[in-house]
């Protein structure tokens, strides 16, 4: 009896083990479900959202929740040591070019899936509270779901055209969400600015895709095929370098690097959950992800490509960090911070193969703590009814949970161990040292100092001191604080995924070049980073712990003015590009349209009119003349003929007899 049971248990256990072994592969093979679920929820919410309880979020939360579970399943597969997976179906062909639909799952994909779904889910839940009572509540969730679907498409895309499709949909959703409160003209302007500026980057991106497709002999845009083709070494370096730089243009636009970063601070006009999702964790990360996905191209290109990448990263890093120093709007601080942190990732990628895992790890951790910071800022804004830190202060007394989680996020951002940001930033600096790119390492360290400084400034100005506003302060509802807690917990934990002494499983999943890298922990570098962070923290603490009314930063004089005007970059853009195009060029083109094009059209119309007038004349006078003339001729002939009918019988008799005679003559002669 026991033996039978034991046998059954063993069999059952083996079967279960089979299932368990096979299960993760199921997740990988069905990874396409994740974006589909998001789009489906978007469609369902669009059509049926208003009828669901709560008027909208149900489908989104369900879909993204299931998506998160599926993503975790995918990660599980990689935990089990599973391999990459790709599946494509042919969509259509143009000549030799085959455009596919498909998905490619490797470690990077798995990690990104988890990031996107988890943060999207947090934002969905957060918006229950934050967007409560909003005029377009349901529509908000619709676009949120579609956006999540688009980002997921980018993440799982196996070929560049599909990636581009997701990319563009994200751009549209970003536009829609930034301009969610479009009644205020400033919001709709910010949305347009975001869309157009990223568009400027999208054009070279597209050309980069074309170049790569050309490199494959116009057959496919499949990323793996492109990588193999480029790695094969038969493609001209010039083409590969150009392709790399062009695609990087897309990154500059979407990931807000110099010189196309000006849209991101203005995009803060959108609702805070949007800022958290799109402009902190996901969309702006898409640019980084793009470089990572097509990294083979960058690696095979002339070293100048990667150099450009690192330079841009370095410049952006410092510029944005300095700008974050002088902002009063809390969201703008976080926006510039995001730009700066993205620059960290770009700089890391610019260091080549070695920097790849570090960059991706920083992307991973940054998503969590930046989303946390944004949502926390949203909680604060919700309470204080103002974005400006000068209207805040002393909030830690009234919003304890928000304060606690915000501090955790800030420490992570500054790079304080044991929070996530420290590990990822430290990795990047370590790579710089290993690669002996000391100038970049120095820049990174300076950036770390400034980051720590403005982070401290932000926290002290907002939460410490005395409350400078007039609102009644209270903690946010659970729908807003629960995500904060979750993200704070994640921030505490995920750092260790990339920490060498704890095994660094992250590096096992995300690597470049076929073999995972085994990271080494360098206490020296770690020490230097901590030192840099400490300097920044102390500085900030000293200047802001007794903040009353006047921000010390404003006393920087000329430097402050420069920073206040954002290096006059926006003015340059507006005066040099927007205004000429909008005013002069448009006016010129309008004139051309009215006087030249329309003249041609009108001339053609006039000519036609004249021609038709002539034809009408012909029709009236010639053709109708002929017809009428025939009639008139008949009439005249008839008029003439009828005079025979004189009414006089003897006339008729004459005719009769004359006819008889004539007939007789003819017949008888």
């Amino acid at each position: 009896m026991v033996g039978v049971l034991g046998f059954l248990a063993q069999e059952g256990g083996e079967a279960a083990a089979e299932v368990v072994k096979a299960a993760p592969n199921w997740f990988v093979e069905h990874a396409y479900l994740i974006p589909l679920l998001a789009f489906a929820s978007g469609a369902l919410t669009l059509f049926f959202g208003k009828r669901t309880p709560g008027k909208g979020p149900v489908y989104g939360i369900l879909a993204i929740g299931v998506g998160l579970v599926l993503s975790l399943g995918v990660v599980w597969s990689f935990v089990q040591g599973g391999g990459n997976f790709e599946h494509n179906i042919e969509w259509f062909r143009i000549g030799t070019l085959q455009v596919q639909l498909g998905f490619y799952v490797d470690g990077l994909t798995a990690v990104m899936l988890v990031v996107v779904t988890s943060i999207s889910l947090m934002v969905h839940i957060y918006s229950l509270g934050y967007m409560h009572g909003d005029k377009r509540y349901t529509w908000f969730y619709v676009v949120l779901s579609i956006f999540t679907g688009a980002m997921l498409v980018v993440v799982v895309a196996s070929n560049l055209f599909q990636l581009l499709v997701g990319w563009e949909i994200m751009g549209v959703c970003s536009y829609l969400l930034i301009g969610h409160w479009y009644e205020d003209h400033a919001n709709s302007s910010a949305a347009i600015k975001a869309f157009l500026t990223t568009r400027v980057g999208d054009v070279p991106f597209m050309f980069g895709i074309f170049a790569l497709v050309y490199a494959t002999g116009m057959t496919t845009s499949n990323i793996q095929v492109i990588s193999e083709t480029v790695a094969g070494g038969h493609i001209s370096t010039l083409l590969v370098t150009c392709a790399a730089l062009l695609m990087f243009g897309g990154t500059i636009g979407k990931s807000a690097q110099f010189p196309l970063y000006t849209w991101l601070p203005d995009a803060m006009a959108g609702p805070t959950p949007v800022s958290a999702l799109i402009h902190a964790a996901t969309m702006v990360a898409a640019g980084i992800y793009l470089v990572a996905r097509t990294f083979e191209v960058f690696v095979q290109a002339d070293p100048i490509a990667l150099t450009v990448v690192s330079i841009i990263g370095a410049i952006t890093l410092l510029m944005a960090a300095l700008l974050a120093l002088v902002q009063d709007d809390i969201k703008k601080v976080l926006a510039y911070s995001t730009i700066s942190q993205l620059a960290y990732m770009v700089a890391a990628l610019g260091m080549g193969e070695a920097g790849y895992p570090a960059a991706m790890f920083h992307l991973f951790t940054h998503a969590f703590f930046k989303a946390l910071l944004f949502l926390g800022a949203g909680s604060v804004i919700h309470a204080a009814h103002s974005n400006n830190m000068s209207d805040m202060g002393g909030l830690r007394k009234h919003m304890k949970l928000t304060y606690a989680t915000f501090v955790i996020g800030s420490l992570a951002l500054a790079g304080v161990p044991p929070f996530a940001g420290f590990f990822s930033k430290d990795e990047i600096i370590l790579v710089a040292k290993d690669q002996q790119i000391y100038w970049l390492g120095a820049v990174l360290l300076v950036g770390a100092v400034i980051t720590a400084f403005y982070t401290t400034r932000m926290v002290l100005k907002t939460f410490h001191g005395e409350y400078r506003g007039t609102e009644h302060l209270h903690e946010s509802p659970w729908s807003m604080t629960a995500p904060l807690v979750f993200l704070a917990a994640a921030t505490c934990v995920v750092g260790f995924l990339g920490f060498a002494p704890t095994g660094a499983p992250f590096m096992d999943w995300v690597y470049f070049g076929g073999v995972p890298e085994t990271p080494v922990f360098s206490p020296l570098v770690a020490g230097i980073s901590v030192l840099a962070v400490a300097i920044g923290l102390l500085f900030g603490w000293r200047l802001y712990k007794d903040y009353k009314a006047v921000d010390p930063v404003t006393e920087l004089g000329g430097a402050y003015t420069l920073l206040e005007h954002k290096y006059y970059l926006d003015d340059i853009y507006f005066g040099g590009i927007v205004r000429p195009i909008r005013d002069t060029w448009s006016a010129g083109i309008y004139w051309f349209n009215q006087h030249v094009l329309d003249a041609v059209v009108n001339g053609a119309a006039g000519g036609s009119k004249g021609l038709s007038g002539g034809i009408m004349w012909i029709d009236r006078n010639v053709i109708d003349g002929i017809v009428n003339g025939a009639g008139t001729a008949m009439e005249t002939f008839g008029k003439g003929l009828r005079t025979i009918q004189t009414g006089k019988v003897q006339w008729y008799a004459v005719g009769l007899f004359g006819g008889v005679i004539t007939l007789a003559l003819f017949i008888f002669r």
Partner: protein, 100 residues
């Protein structure tokens, strides 16, 4: 034994005279008279051929012609009288209301 052609020529002459009268006379009664001449010429022909062919059918036909001619003259004159009553004139040239 009158030679046939002579009779026929005589008849032709009468007929021609009748034709002239029909065409050239303006008095309606005169026109009727000329028609009678023509009919008589036909009768003459009929009877001449009847005598020539020894067939009495021609004479019968001639009799019928006479009867019909009589009827025709009666009606014709009645019409002429009516015409005269309405227009106080029997000038056929003036009876041209059916002209164009």
């Amino acid at each position: 034994m009158i030679r046939l052609p002579l009779v026929l020529v005589f008849a032709a002459l009468l007929f021609s005279a009748g034709v002239y009268g029909v065409l050239a006379r303006r008095n309606a009664v005169m026109v009727l008279m000329a028609i009678e001449l023509m009919l008589n010429a036909v009768n003459l022909n009929l009877v001449a051929f009847s005598a020539s062919l020894q067939d009495v059918t021609g004479q019968i036909f001639a009799l019928f012609v006479i009867a019909v001619a009589a009827a025709e003259v009666g009606i014709g004159l009645a019409i002429v009288i009516l015409l005269f009553r309405n227009r106080a004139s029997i000038n056929v040239d003036e009876v041209d209301l059916l002209k164009w």
